[in-house]
Symmetry: D2
């Protein structure tokens, strides 16, 4: 296989077909049809020799395909010794959103195999859902919709006593990765004052994005709208504990969309129940949430069932990113759409599977 | 009274007090405390001799104040002959949001009395509520919150089959006055394609705002998100009739926040019931909506009880606008915050009172 | 003439022609072809009965047209008694950019005749020229171009010792009318801190435009880039006098594009000569500037000959605005493109003719 | 040396000092004082054991420091065997802007040593200079400044016959790396239509930045403003040849700021001389440009001596980036400010030294 010969136009001859790079497709937990549109799947087959393991998830099938593999889409078990059987491997394209320890990432980095994540594909969906939750909390949209259905709607100013504007408001972001940046962009037209806490970034990076670097304490104490966007690491676990949640201004609106372990849920729900703040919550310590969970009865909450990121447009963007980057790699160019996983961080994430 | 002598700093002496312009305050249906913060009311009293008619709504009290009146805040009955009794009158500041025919506006224009409206004060609140409704419809926020409360929540992708993004979406606006412009601004970060129909504006004005001038037919047929922002006139009544609503793309999200008479509600609710589109509806042909109204049971709707504009921040902005413009007028400068009502239009609005 | 019958589509019959509103065209100092494109002029003739006085500037010709005149484009001598001869007059459309006292504006306001200005047509051109001057001053573009032509160019860092960035810089605007707003928009991508002094506007208006209200002293003392955009009135004459110019930070870049009388030119040129600041200057106390004027030899200045606003696109926008607003007025709608001149201000401008 | 023990606050004890990571500083061609502010240099010394080779550029001095080196700032000769002597090396921080073949980059990638570039530091400066050149070309700023100095200035419209607006203009970018993205941002307020040609990027990436993906032919044929921002590779050499330059619309404004070999300068200068287009040119095939070079006499050009990027703020940003990323690396975090050089591309650049 000579990668330099790839014909990215897909107009390859039969002989050319034999020279197309081999891509192993094993997208679980996604069915391939969830992340690839028909057009993307067609293009993928035109440009690559696709070994589709969706029908055969066995280690044997994978092992057979490894010697010629140019790239693997998905994250099958890949200990060091198995990676050694794939001398032509150039990239591992994670389409699930979390990096699990069933892959020997160090072995990848040592060999210069790209470890690519699909996080950016979900960022826009999460940002829009987060803003939707924030505006719901700002205006009582779902609360008043419920009241209306129960014949208890309140007209004009009567139901608006706690309604507030997002324009020019104090907004806090805990975490400024893909989610924070996408959210920052959709907030543009509101011209808010945005304070950001992100311990992995120097202040200069935040200033470049026209947000104000701040300590966690400042972000909590000064935000009318607070977005929790941090990933889970050993450091961020329980970051928003009872004491810190107590420092949020009265009447604040909290949006929790990243990972549940970052927040003390007992304290969160207590604060909502006491009317100290309102919250939109998309992630939960246990999913599914137990049937009798008290959150189901709270007025000051908008309940969301881990729905922020997983929408059709986001899934198809994963597939488009995979196709785009495989095409670039086959042309001898670096990937530009998926996120190159940092060697320092890939082992530190403690996210549970989205299941 | 010599207006040129006004001391806008409020540091007027007792003698100075006698020379302060007279402002008649009759803010009904608002209590003054709804639109003026304490600070604004204090400043108003410092800068002007305020004749407060909140306690005495009688024609007699008004008549007594007219001869010295510099401005009237509110819209009491002002036929031509009564206006004639106010030779010093410079401005009529409407704080209610609608212009009723109990004022002889022509008599105002003939004399160069400013007729000022407070519509811009509500625009930001309406824009944010509209976007909140649109994002709710895009992502099923209130629908899935209800399901969650009923123990029927669906996790991750399961409840997202009809979820869509606003980013880069086709957005249509029917009407491009204060509401449309405020909405256009908050949409900035989504980089949508925005088509606008507004028969009162030449295409050049729309292009200046970086939106695409379009016919009503184009706006309806090409918008994934459709915002109805038109005011009511004889021409716009029933503008979105059954036939036109039928031309909206399947799965479109409609947001109706301006005035109910612009839309055929039977057709609107039928379209929702049939699943042809989803809608967020803030205004209703009859308010309060009858107890057994079928809209209360529809799944594909977000119900809102005329709550888009009337929030505390908007009311206080009305008061701030009044104070700012009265201060400018007393300094011999033109008003810049309230909207100078167009002579051609003030009699054409057919909005019902907000009550 | 019945205005209600106007056919704005231009498809009028011969009989219809007799009913088209009469528009008097007297665009001096512009030839009509400078402000109207062929297409605009054709549309104007289709929609209106045009009395073109370009060829006959006599009072007699004007007087003959007045009795049927619906609108006058230009500003011929219009004392009260002559206006009285135009009972159907609805609008006076100034296409020159300054309001001269040869018109009895009070008589217009008393009758409800619109007095319309074309200032907004020039704002974008002035804003872009101003930014061009500012970037030239920031980077020494014209200075180093001159050096290059003289064989004394300095490469890479050698000519850049005083080069600065506009991004995140402190920017000050003196005046926030049409020019300031257009400039604010083109500055968006630089995310500067913008302080504005405008005594005619309450701070709330400035905050709405996401700029910081400030005193003149603050604006001068804290701006790395300072834009002088104020119009001339008795109050603003000599606003930037020697003392105030002395408070500008060392190395500041000044852009003077509105009106010369606002600035003390002796002090301005002295400050440039002494290297205290750099300046881009588009307006001059005497135009043309005398042949031996010392400014012609200064290094720290970019010389511009009143060129900021008068570009073809701006002139044609004047014509488009005239056409758009006449068309709206003939349909019984208010003008939306030209600027309704404020009764309080029309007599206060002290701008000299642009000639 | 235990990196995990690093104290990024700089409050290290004497004992701690011995454990600080070793950073080799060899910033040539920059003196260290050009890229590090005093504060940055102080912080660098507090956080790291700095081996400063500015005074001793010998291979011997470098060799002595390699065994303990955590990072190298600069690009000394680093063949594979020398890299092998630096077992603790984590990063090579290029502060010059170009990658030369005196480093065995493959050896770095194989070992997981970060190869970091400082290109982003210059992007804002280049973008602002590019926009400055474009506005100069749009409005004849330097041309008319020259005329003014020669007593031949033309007032108001007389010198503006070829003046055009950038707002809503057709803009083309050839190349969309750091420069293109920074330029896209500063263009925001002009709301242009931006077409981009970049063969290394899939169209999806361009759409994400709200620009229109296009072929080179489209970009050339449809751009009123054309920015040449491409780096030099074997593929891009002579990309804008005579034939392609002939396809640019009459009167277009070209800004050439990236690398001279991308453009056929004979054809470029001929087009300017013939008045087919105007150009701002910052890079030259031979620098310094020969004394009698005909470009020095052309009217339709703005001459710039490779000054777009190398301004004090950009140099200091290089130093800040170095400090920020070294600090992150020492904390066990990935770098976020410098650009991780792509293994596929680092050997393909053909840029000459800026020197």
């Amino acid at each position: 296989m000579r990668e330099a010969d790839i014909d990215p136009t897909g107009a390859a001859s039969t002989e050319g077909d034999r020279r197309k790079p081999v891509v192993i497709l094993r997208c679980a937990p996604h069915p391939a049809g969830r992340i690839f549109t028909d057009a993307a799947l067609t293009a993928l087959h035109e440009r690559f020799t696709v070994v589709d393991l969706e029908g055969d998830d066995s280690p044997h099938a994978l092992d057979q395909a490894l010697p010629e593999a140019f790239a693997i889409v998905g994250q099958p078990d890949l200990p060091r010794e198995r990676l050694a059987r794939a001398p032509r491997l150039r990239a591992l394209l994670n389409v699930e959103g979390n990096f699990y320890p069933n892959v020997d990432y160090e072995a990848c980095y040592e060999r210069g195999v790209y470890v690519l994540g699909c996080g950016p594909a979900y960022a826009q969906a999460v940002a829009e859902h987060s803003l939707g939750l924030a505006l719901d909390l700002a205006r009582g949209i779902s609360r008043e919709d419920r009241a209306f259905r129960n014949g208890r709607e309140r007209y004009v100013a009567d139901g608006n006593s706690d309604a507030i504007l997002l324009r020019h408001a104090d907004v806090g972001l805990v975490g400024f990765g893909n989610l924070g940046r996408a959210l920052r962009t959709v907030l543009t037209g509101f011209a808010p004052t945005i304070r950001v806490y992100d311990p992995w970034l120097p202040p200069s990076v935040l200033r470049q994005h026209d947000v104000i670097p701040a300590t966690l304490e400042e972000v909590l104490a000064r935000s009318t709208f607070l977005f929790v966007l941090a990933t889970v690491t050993d450091e961020s676990r329980n970051l928003l504990n009872a004491e810190r949640l107590a420092s949020v201004p009265p009447g604040a609106r909290l949006v929790v969309v990243s990972r549940a372990p970052v927040v003390d849920y007992d304290a969160l729900l207590a604060g909502i129940a006491e009317g100290r703040f309102l919250a939109g919550v998309d992630v939960w310590p246990d999913e599914p949430v137990p049937a009798g969970h008290p959150a189901r009865k709270l007025e000051g909450i908008v309940l969301s069932a881990h729905r922020a990121g997983g929408i059709p447009a986001a899934f198809f963007e994963v597939g488009e990113m995979v196709l785009d980057d495989l095409t670039l790699l086959a042309r001898g160019l670096p990937p530009v759409r998926m996120q190159v996983a940092a060697r320092e961080l890939v082992g530190r994430y403690r996210n549970r599977p989205v299941s």
